[in-house]
């Protein structure tokens, strides 16, 4: 489904992703953990080409981008449409209503009529529990509500895989649950997901696989129980002990 081969990314002389290989099967949830600055965000952002990798081959659902050769803007756009992204800071469009945030991509990118787009948006907003807030602007919503709108906005584009970069890190503790619940539902529906998070309970309950990344390399990967209870590598042990799980 998703395959990453030999992925490399540097910022200036700093190598942030060092030759990463990773496969994610259809319908699986992969949780990515690791210390701050280890390259978790960069890995996700390479997957939807918000960062252009310096090398490697990405493939999602049969579509391939080979960064060892030159890649056109058009093929990047097409590739990006296979993914949906949820950001730590929500990044909702403040000038649009909740519905507008969800319909914008449908009308502008997918060419749906306004009516069709609104219909689809209503279904999705209902799904994330925001049917009663569809005419509000982002500043009128709580952080948890904003993040759920962001999830609906990404889902609207029918992505093959959803990428979450610390979706609950900016939230007040009492709002984390409502966002995780939506993500859990999504996982149970069979969405393929790559999630960077510090929510270890979510990882234990939902993840099919946990990946520990440090200093731009995948140090260890395995089932959650395996990683959390019997980490093999020193670096993993140290990281987990700091998290006190």
């Amino acid at each position: 489904m998703i395959s990453i081969q030999g992925l490399k990314k540097s910022f200036g002389s700093q190598e942030v992703i060092k030759n990463v290989d990773l496969e994610i099967e259809q319908g699986k949830v992969v949780v990515i953990i690791g210390p701050s600055g280890s390259g978790k965000s960069t890995l996700l952002r390479c997957l939807n080409v918000l960062e252009t990798p310096n090398g490697g081959v990405l493939s999602i659902d049969g579509q391939k981008l080979d960064f060892n050769t030159s890649v056109s803007k058009k093929s990047i756009s097409a590739f990006r449409r296979l993914t949906g992204m949820v950001f730590q800071s929500y990044n909702l469009f403040p000038h649009l209503t909740t519905t507008g945030n969800v319909t914008e991509g449908l009308t502008t990118v997918k060419g749906l009529s306004h009516k069709e787009a609104v219909k689809k948006a209503e279904l999705l907003l209902d799904k994330v529990g925001l049917a009663d807030h569809k005419d509000k602007h982002p500043f009128q919503l709580s952080g948890g509500q904003q993040q759920r709108v962001a999830i609906a906005r990404a889902l609207a584009m029918d992505p093959k895989v959803m990428l979450f970069d610390e979706p609950t890190s900016a939230l007040d503790p009492e709002l984390v649950g409502e966002v995780l619940r939506v993500m859990k539902d999504l996982a149970h529906e069979g969405m393929t997901m790559a999630v960077v998070t510090h929510e270890m309970r979510f990882a234990k309950e939902v993840a099919d696989e946990v990946i520990f990344i440090d200093d731009g390399v995948i140090v260890e990967r395995g089932a959650p129980a395996e990683i959390f209870n019997h980490p093999k590598h020193e670096r993993t042990k140290k990281f987990l002990s700091l998290l006190q799980v």
Partner: protein
């Protein structure tokens, strides 16, 4: 002989009333036929120039960036009066003759284009990177992200400084008097040169400008309140 009288004798006040009633008409006509249209047309054309200039200045194309920078630098680095004189009195000497009103439109549009481009550029740059990324992440390309996500937000940010520019422009149009546009101030000069009541007539002209700008500042206030309501006081930029 009472022309030389400094004191405000009853006769002179009587005379002021006569001048006021005969000259207010031409002054307002100058405002309606020239000052206001000149400001509106030049501002509209100028805004279009400004948007393209701002985009050129933030583009990745070196040549576009350089052209835009030189244009802005020339307009900002030379007096508006000199620019108007070059267009109206200078160009005819190389065979390009343009009527007063179109000359003024050209001069003021180029001016608005340069100054407003700085406002719009700053507004575009003030939109957080996350907005571009969110737009790209739902599959938009550069132009779609710009048109649908970034420019609408940048427009809201630019409204207060742009309204100030517009009010400034209304006052600057008085410079068009020097290239024979029959706008408010030129009318005042003509009237005053006939009756020699310079102080009184120029104060009347000033009042006409002040009334226009006062009305504009009320409209500006309304627009800003409305925008705040839509986007939220905090700007709503998450």
């Amino acid at each position: 002989m009472y022309l030389n009288t400094i004191a405000l004798s009853p006769e002179r006040i009587q005379r002021f009333q006569e001048i006021a009633s005969t000259s207010i008409g031409p002054l307002i006509e100058g405002a309606i036929k020239y000052t206001i249209p000149l400001a509106i047309i030049a501002f509209s054309i100028g805004l279009i120039i400004a948007i393209f200039t701002a985009l050129a200045r933030i583009s990745s194309n070196k040549l576009l960036r350089a052209i835009a920078r030189v244009y802005v630098s020339i307009i900002r680095g030379t007096p508006l009066l000199v620019q108007l004189f070059i267009i109206f009195y200078g160009l005819p000497t190389i065979g390009i003759t343009i009527d007063p009103f179109p000359s003024a439109i050209i001069g003021f549009s180029l001016n608005v284009g340069a100054y407003a481009s700085e406002i719009i550029r700053a507004a575009i740059l003030s939109i957080p990177k996350g907005q571009w990324e969110a737009a790209y992440s739902i599959g938009m390309n550069y132009l779609q992200a710009l048109r649908k996500i970034v420019l609408p937000q940048a427009a809201r940010v630019s409204v207060p400084p742009l309204s100030n520019s517009f009010i400034g422009l209304v006052k600057d149009t008085s410079l068009a008097a020097t290239i024979l546009v029959a706008e408010t101030f030129r009318r005042a000069q003509e009237i005053a040169s006939m009756n020699y009541e310079f102080l009184f007539v120029y104060i009347m002209a000033a009042l006409v400008y002040w009334v226009i700008c006062f009305i504009l500042s009320i409209i500006q206030g309304r627009i800003e309140i409305r925008l705040d309501r839509v986007v939220g006081k905090s700007g709503g930029l998450s």
